[in-house]
Symmetry: C2
Subunit: 419 residues, 2 copies
């Protein structure tokens, strides 16, 4: 279902005595990050979601909009999956209120009826300023002075033991917990992603199954068929020259998957390492073929500081094809007449990769057979594992984000001045 | 209406004997790029658009959807402006068919009624494979075997003298021309941007007026109040260390403006220069405050290879404010109670910039008083001028894109194999 191929030269690594692989197994045992075992750990949560759906049929029956209120890791994962799969038109509408941007808040809320919506407030810490400010605004929209008065329209997802969890319990708001050792950007397979996606109608069990296939293969059986270790080693060894990793995704539907990747890669790997050195790899997500007409020139002829991973969908939609119309003067475009657009975009992906290879840019390709829950679970878990391995190689803490605290302190000072 | 401030140390430059400024004036005189004079050159086009609107009231009266069929420079500019200004709800719906992605083609066309749509086919060369293939598909959707049979639903925008222009004339399709020396990524103020935006209901005269204000200031009067020359010089002089230029835009509505900037900056500056050296600066567009929770960590603690330009909107929407609700356990978020979201997001922008400045990252800020046509014209022209100046400093041809040709050749070979 997922095939991959690496076109740059790597140093072979044997998984059974690989020090990075051993460290990854240590991280799993020590519980350094709880994301590793999510693909096989969520049976209890799936039952809890199912029970909630049964219990609250009244609410969900007339509900047209699932509104996720959360920012960063609290929204990027479910947004990526929803926008990848909504083309099947089998899910409810999902909206994402992420920002303190008044223009966007006004536009998004203007699109929905409050009486046909459920708001899922997601904050790991429970006190994210954007999310809680939006939550207060939503309470006001419902004419509610306390969460209790709007409890039947609300769901909370937050760390077990957080103040938001306590608030939920005290006000009769259904609250799902997150384990403390599951970081925001690694949380898509926890309640953070599964609850909103399940309520919107996605098959979250298949999502977990997809990730589980790779978990069993790589983590349990030590089978590295995608060359994760060699790819991670390449990024670490060439870290000083290749500072930018481009994901060139050949379908617009994975635009938000790219955004999810950017957070995962950038926030996990941009760190001061244990030797006190600034490290980090800059992630960029672009979309093919659109960005052949934008970013490609820079990769082809600009500085040699980029690697490019292509993502390609083998089977998208055969129904749409280019008709056999020849336009006078434009016969040079007739070479694509009569083919499916999926054939054209697939060949565009291959041609662009070969063009980059021909000028010496390191490339690899990941091919998804189709866009579905299974494959989304698999590829997201693939990227989480790859991030962990590069983090081990760079000798950093992959799971924290100490650099973003200064800004929060400065912000609060600015408001203190006001009073 | 647009204020700016640079926080990194620059070398002063005197505009009246500056060699880069002199070269820019030479480019204007020689017609090396026709974009420079678009703000003052388009009176004829404005009349042509007005006459077309009068003549075709029948078509436009019932028309709900303006569909732009184009890729890269043919769509990015009008898309940026539409998505920045559509919050005012005073325009028609615009759709952008850019990609050969069958899933997206199917989704977009599924949203509209063909009988209430106008398709604007935009291709500078006239033979862009994605655009012409989509055009053939649209003809088929109308049940048309030739452009003539759907002429009343079509507009062409293409280089004067191209095969597409001839096709338009022969089939009675209204065709607007582009001057050969106006490159795709510099074409937003030509027919490429003005025609679709005018038909959608935007005030394109104000768009031109905004750009004209900067044209008169900088090009005619030699007044560099924004420090364009010093900023360009900083990017050129620090080109080996600061390889990445981040645009950190504090409103989601400018997401497609960021995409427009990425093409302009990346495709113009990623070149082999006249000394045979690979040069180029990597553009990245991010959105605040969302990407404070994603990309910021990497800028704060990762390698020191980035500059950051902030874009801030002074007045967005005062009506939306954070209510005075205090939630038990979450009192730490009450510092923002009672303020407008526009105040919160503005202070978040300032706090993040100060945080980056405090750790030594070069930052500057551009403040738009509001989101409107005037300011969009101004800021897009600002970025075009800045791109030209950096291109002069890097000693490259800013206006070509030779690196993207190889991929097109390989693509055609792949189709030759098929037959």
């Amino acid at each position: 279902m997922i095939e991959s191929r690496i076109f740059f030269e790597t140093t072979p690594r044997k998984i059974d005595n690989d020090p990075w692989y051993a460290k990854l197994q240590d991280e799993i045992k020590a519980g350094a990050s709880g994301y590793y075992r999510l693909p096989v750990d969520q049976e209890g949560l799936l039952h809890e979601i199912e029970a909630f759906k049964q219990e609250r049929l009244d609410l969900l029956y007339g509900c047209e909009n699932i509104v996720v209120v959360g920012i960063g890791g609290s929204s990027l994962g479910s947004k990526a999956i929803h926008n990848a799969l909504k083309y099947r038109k089998s899910s409810k509408r999902m909206l994402f209120l992420e920002s303190s941007d008044p223009l966007q808040i006004d536009m998004e809320l203007g699109r929905i009826s409050l009486e046909k919506s459920v708001f899922i407030i997601i904050s790991k810490s429970g006190s994210t300023i954007e999310t809680i400010s939006l939550f207060k605004y939503i309470l006001q929209c419902y004419g509610a002075a306390t969460p209790k008065e709007a409890a039947n329209r609300l769901i909370f997802i937050t760390d077990k033991g957080s103040a938001l969890e306590k608030l939920g319990v005290a006000n009769g708001v259904k609250t799902f917990g997150i384990d403390a050792n599951v970081g925001g950007r690694f949380s898509v397979l926890s309640a953070v992603g599964l609850v909103p996606l399940a309520l919107a109608g996605y098959d979250v069990r298949s999502l977990l199954e997809g990730a589980k296939a790779l978990y069993e293969q790589f983590v349990l059986q030590g089978n590295d068929r995608h060359g994760l270790l060699e790819k991670a080693a390449y990024f670490v060894e060439n870290h000083d020259e290749i500072t930018i990793n481009v994901l060139f995704t050949y379908t617009s539907l994975l635009k938000d998957f790219n955004a999810w990747y950017v957070q995962l890669w950038g926030e996990s790997l941009g760190k001061v390492n244990r030797s006190g050195r600034r490290v980090g790899l800059t992630p960029i997500g672009i979309i093919g073929p659109v960005d052949q007409h934008s970013f490609l020139q820079l990769i082809m002829e600009g500085p040699r500081n980029k690697s490019v991973t292509f993502i390609k969908i083998a089977h998208s939609l055969e129904a749409v094809h280019i008709p056999e119309i020849s336009l006078p003067g434009l016969e040079s475009t007739d070479y694509a007449n009569g083919v499916h657009f999926e054939t054209l975009i697939g060949k565009q992906c291959d041609a662009t990769r070969e063009a980059l290879e021909s000028v010496g840019v390191p490339t690899d390709i990941i091919e998804l057979e189709a866009l579905n829950e299974d494959n989304m679970g698999y590829i997201m878990y693939y990227y989480e594992l790859l991030t962990s391995l590069v983090g081990i190689g760079l000798d950093i803490n992959t799971y924290d984000q100490p650099g973003v605290e200064i800004g929060k302190v400065i912000l609060q000072e600015k408001f203190r001045d006001r009073k």
